[in-house]
């Protein structure tokens, strides 16, 4: 509700609402573990996905397949998967939140990507690929959990919000 009541409110909104987006190209994106990270579909092979990430602060990037083969495009610069990851993150979370998390200024995906490009970020190793991919599987596993018609009184603490990111 009113921002001056934030400390005294039981229902203060802490996470701004995510926005719906098309998931075909980038089925999974998150701001976690100090990185923008996610899973990007391969344009040519439905069995293959890329695990891509950009670190907050120094923008160190990595991209490899879920079977740990390095991405051919990610040499010395962001590949197309990382570019898609950034633009879909901006759709889901808004440019402000993505920029704040990565510590980069920019009012849209293009300017955020360009600002990071300009610093010639280093390419990192693919050590994060396995945990990111397993977080994606964990995320998909939510689809398999059964609904219930027993009341969840705790959800009273989680109202929706119409606020736009």
């Amino acid at each position: 509700m009113l921002s001056e009541h934030r400390e005294r409110s039981s229902t203060a909104r802490v996470i701004p609402p995510a926005r719906p987006r098309k998931l075909a190209k980038v089925p999974f994106v998150e701001l976690a573990d100090g990185r923008l990270q996610g899973v990007v579909s391969s344009g040519s092979d439905v069995e293959r996905v890329y695990v891509s990430s950009v670190a907050a602060g120094n923008y160190e990037f990595a991209c490899s397949t879920n079977n740990n083969r390095p991405c051919g495009g990610a040499y010395g610069a962001f590949c197309k998967h990382i570019r898609s990851l950034i633009s879909e993150a901006v759709v889901q979370y808004g440019a402000e939140r993505v920029g704040r998390y990565l510590k980069v200024d920019g009012e849209d995906a293009q300017s955020i990507t360009a600002a990071m490009d300009l610093t010639s970020p280093a390419q990192g190793g693919n050590t994060a690929a396995a945990p990111v991919f397993s977080r994606f599987l964990h995320h998909l596993a939510y689809l398999e959990l059964a609904p219930t018609t027993a009341p969840l009184p705790e959800m009273q603490w989680f109202p929706p919000t119409r606020a736009v990111v």
Binding site: T11, I15, P20, L23, W157, F158, P160, R162
Partner: protein, 455 residues
Amino acid sequence: MRADLLVETVAGLDEALGVVDAFDRALVAGLLRPQADGLFELADAVAGTPLAARVAEAAEKAAAGAAGEEHFVALAAARTALLGSVHDALVLRVEEATGRARGEEPPQVVGDRSAVNLLAAARSWLADLARSGWRGIDHDVVSGADQVISAMLKEPGLRRLATLLDGFVAELAASCPGASLDRVPERRWADLWSRAMLLTQPGAADVSPTATATGRLLPLGVDVHEHPTAAQAQVHAVFEPEDGSTPRLVRASVSVPKPDTILGAGIWQLLRPHMSLLAAISEGRSMTLTQMPITAEGDLIWNDEQARQGEPADAFTTARVALPTATTPVTAALDRHPARIAVPVFLEGYSSTKDTFTLAGQNLAVDTDRVPVAGPLTPEAVAASSACIGLLRWDAGVFSVQPLAVETTVRKKAVAVHAGAWAGGTTDKAGAKAEKAATDAAALLRERAGRLLRR
């Protein structure tokens, strides 16, 4: 409704909340090296109750930075009891304002005591969290809950605690590191922490039906709750028992864990197949219940096989005619908290803006932010309305009304606009577009899950 009663001071409220605030400040810095004042104030506040001795001991230990899990549980219980008294005072005020009677006091239910290992793991994490304090959280502390949450989500009996922790942890993770947080949602996080702590007590989360309901169900509206990985739709309705006994307010809920990319209309799509009542809402119908299980708190445990479609029923007629005669169910002891107050009310004869109704010279805040995006009800429609079905709530010191439906005038014609109109599906142009996008998103995720999960 007597809106004047809702703006009057409630005796003792500020004092009780002052004690809560002092305890909540101790959780900001953490209980390793606590600001002890808040702990002793809390102990003093419950000195005349059966909790006295245990809370006094817990405050001593916690003040010395030596609290164990049982001490944290005692502190959480004391805070919950105090907010329970705040709840009771507010509900009394609501009853005076609405002029409706309350139902019977629910009996104490002793729940089933299963999955104690997972509960113990959750309690141990919550104790660590209290020690770090909100200013001390980092990714290591927060991710300590991940495994236990995943395991609990698979246990239907632990869904309440699992869903609460899942939403809480997402907020904490998005707020790391705590040291650089601008502002801390002190009451909220202390609420979530204490509630979770109490739910780790075996049996505490059990809600058992105590009776069955046979008769006519007249829906008033739908309230939606959601966090990134869970959603709940809760229908408020008047239930008219077939035996002619007093009508009562009841709720029917359906909830589901979800991926965070399923949003808006996608939430209706997930919930719709599990409660035929959502379709009845969109069609403006009543339902006939036959031996539907119901708890003493007025929660129907919905089962489609015990419900069939009834006659058309206009929610505004229900609100005008049936609602004033219905009793309001009494909340169970553990659930008494101001955030739980959601009392159906019917208002008309007000002048309105987007965030205020003025009734007989009294201003009542209108919380349109809680109106779900995936529906036709907008803050503009609320501002232009002449009658409103809403939920009376209380937060941060004030009562407000959350609109569930309004009557307004479109091209000189009176129309009703319902927040939950799209619950059962929609032919509305904007709604159909949102439905299509949500169908595509869900299909894509299911396709990915089919390909990747069962390898």
